[in-house]
């Protein structure tokens, strides 16, 4: 059903696009290569189509499944990518390694509309130069099945509550796991002071966890087949589960707080088509792209204040994430040193070993 309505709505655009392509090929041809998580906005079919028609560039995607994989791809294939999505906690690491180049902000027409606290965040501006354009931000917390839990939980302790013993889903990720435990213990998730307490808190999940999940797709399958009642999740994905898949899911930002993250778009060093890269980034941060992405598919919150203002009044990204009180409860992810990351990994592997027995 949906494809036909989508298609018919786009007939006029296609017609206009055909004309635009005829004009476009004259001055711009080539490929624009984007490196991003799969299914994360930049590869929406309609968006790619609009961009290709306007600029004449063919958009080609490559995906990664972890930040480390993204960095490895940039390291091993210099000059292979134009635009890359980088979690702002990693942007300056990538800049320091010379994997990305400074963004020419004057080429981004929407740059002025971006929320200043995100646009000017020190995590995106390394050595005084913008290396990433604030794109979307969101929250890592948990979501629950509204048909299973009668009351909306307001505390992160629900994940440790015996009432949901054996009914908790958990993402198999060392940094995220440590952050959740730190928040529950009232420690700083970016720099937990007492790692022994964190380990014990995670070990207490033994009776709770039903299974681990590693991708949005897997999360949706587990919830749909009734494998868990409450599970850690990402705000943008939760809205997609609700909007695009019709699952009975509500996302919660508990009173203890949650993890905030900001994703930026960067231009790779040696990008074959830097001009097209800037055009693509400009399109991605525009209200035109974002509003449609969030209302039709489901997205994290936009870093573009003008785009957020155009969302329907009841949109999660406006009602919940638009609330300044909520935002104060978020601990935004900060860069982690390699040593620290290795430490978190070892704690998590040790905990997983205990949980398996």
């Amino acid at each position: 059903m949906q494809p036909t309505t989508k298609l018919s709505r786009w007939v006029p655009v296609l017609a206009a696009g055909a004309l635009a392509v005829c004009a476009g090929v004259v001055h711009a041809t080539g490929e624009l290569r984007v490196l991003n998580w799969q299914g994360y906005g930049t590869d929406e079919e309609w968006a790619v189509q609009i961009f290709e028609e306007r600029t004449g560039f063919k958009v080609v995607h490559d995906n990664f499944n972890s930040e480390q994989e993204m960095l490895t791809k940039l390291r091993t294939s210099p000059g292979a990518y134009d635009v890359v999505l980088i979690n702002s906690a990693y942007t300056c690491d990538a800049a320091r390694e010379g994997l990305i180049q400074p963004v020419e902000t004057n080429l981004i027409s929407n740059f002025g509309d971006l929320s200043s606290n995100m646009r000017d965040s020190p995590t995106l501006n390394c050595d005084g130069k913008a290396h990433g354009v604030a794109w979307v931000w969101g929250v890592t917390s948990f979501a629950y099945n509204t048909e299973k839990l009668a009351e909306r939980p307001d505390s992160i302790e629900i994940l440790w509550d015996p009432a949901v013993a054996g009914r908790v889903g958990w993402r198999d990720d060392p940094v995220e796991a440590v952050s959740f435990a730190a928040i529950a213990l009232g420690q700083d998730p970016n720099d937990p002071s007492d790692l022994d307490a964190v380990r014990d808190k995670l070990l207490a999940l033994k009776t709770q966890i039903r299974t681990f999940w590693s991708s949005e797709d897997e999360w949706n399958k587990h919830l749909a087949s009734d494998q868990f009642d409450v599970a850690t999740y990402w705000s943008g994905s939760a809205s997609r589960s609700k909007t695009a898949f019709g699952l009975p899911v509500e996302f919660v930002i508990p009173k203890e707080g949650a993890i905030g993250w900001l994703d930026g778009l960067s231009v790779a060093t040696g990008a074959p088509n830097p001009d097209a890269a800037h055009m693509f980034i400009d399109f991605m941060v525009s209200p035109e792209f974002y509003v449609r992405w969030d209302t039709e598919v489901g997205a994290p919150a936009s870093a573009n204040a003008a785009a957020n203002a155009q969302l329907p009044a009841d949109a999660f990204n406006r009602t919940v994430l638009g609330d300044p009180e909520t935002v104060t409860r978020l601990h935004f992810m900060a860069p982690l040193s390699d040593d620290r990351r290795e430490q978190f990994l070892e704690i998590w592997e040790e905990v997983k070993t205990q949980l398996a027995q």
Binding site: N65, L71, T72, R75, E97, T211, D226, T353, Q354
Partner: protein, 287 residues
């Protein structure tokens, strides 16, 4: 003289491509991984790597790596045990008691699982094993009012999935050596008054040891390094040395640590084979 030389060339010409292929496809990547396992970081994109033994040291320092190794070995033993218990009698029946045409049809059914993708097989098991799944519903039809049977995300689920994957190897290798046993030996034993049990214990079992041994190797070795089945079917119980090695490669991109753990596992396998070898050699055909 001339004939002998010609023969040498023929042997070289016939086996050469296979050995060349083995060298390129197995030896080279494996040596690269062995080299990586002694480096501080994977040497990509101009990152400085220096020689170190710390990844091997980490295995000794962290108890959980040893616990996981033991878990993986145990899983290998359990899966191999069930493959023998189910596979050997099946192979025996196929080789010695099923008439010709039926045998072909049954053998085809044994190989059938090979024709589907391993991932698809494992995902279908999730539908069978979960609460309210096929198995649970079937059991409750037979025994109404029984407590619900929920095997998904347990250690047993991993064993079931792996036994299903590796059973064909065990059946086929056992079948080949059982079928090669000369029927005259059994008839001779019978004329000398041997009972069925004695024939099995003194003739059939010893003569089928090579096939059984091949089946055990083909099952045990891949199972202790398996990770995909454990990840999908095991849930919380699915952490093994194999999954931790996979994490090192795909999640944290610590290739040296992943490589070191893999080689430790390889060393353990070789050690087990070395210990078992003297006992086995007696049963293997000489020459």
């Amino acid at each position: 003289m001339l004939r002998a030389r010609r023969r040498t060339w023929a042997v070289l010409g016939l086996t050469g491509p296979a050995y060349l292929w083995l060298a390129v496809a197995i030896f080279l990547p494996l040596s690269a991984m062995l080299y990586f396992s002694f480096l501080t970081v994977a040497p990509f994109g101009g990152r400085e790597a220096t020689a170190t033994l710390k990844h091997y040291q980490a295995f000794l320092d962290r108890d959980f790596y040893q616990v996981l190794t033991w878990r993986s070995l145990q899983l290998g033993l359990h899966v191999t045990f069930w493959c023998i218990v189910i596979g050997y009698p099946a192979a025996l029946a196929l080789a010695r008691h099923v008439p010709g045409r039926w045998r072909e049809a049954l053998l085809l059914m044994v190989v059938l699982p090979f024709w589907s993708n391993a991932l698809v097989r494992v995902f279908s098991w999730t539908m069978v094993l979960r609460e309210g799944g096929l198995l649970d519903s079937a059991v409750r039809v037979i025994v109404p009012g029984m407590e619900s049977l929920d095997l998904l995300f347990t250690y047993d689920a991993i064993v079931i999935g792996l036994v299903h994957s590796f059973l064909p190897y065990m059946i086929l290798t056992c079948y080949v050596s059982l079928q090669a046993i000369d029927g005259a030996l059994i008839e001779a034993a019978r004329t000398l008054g041997a009972s069925g049990w004695v024939i099995f214990r003194r003739i059939i079992l010893p003569l089928s040891v090579p096939g059984l041994f091949a089946g055990v190797i083909l099952t045990f070795v891949p199972v202790i390094g398996s990770f995909m089945e454990a990840r999908i079917l095991g849930g919380r119980a699915g952490t093994l040395l194999g999954t931790v090695i996979e994490d090192q490669f795909t999640v944290v991109f610590n290739w040296p640590r992943g490589a070191a753990l893999s080689f430790i596992l390889l060393a353990i396998v070789l050690l087990i084979l070395a210990v078992a070898w003297p006992g086995l050699r007696r049963h293997l055909p000489q020459g």
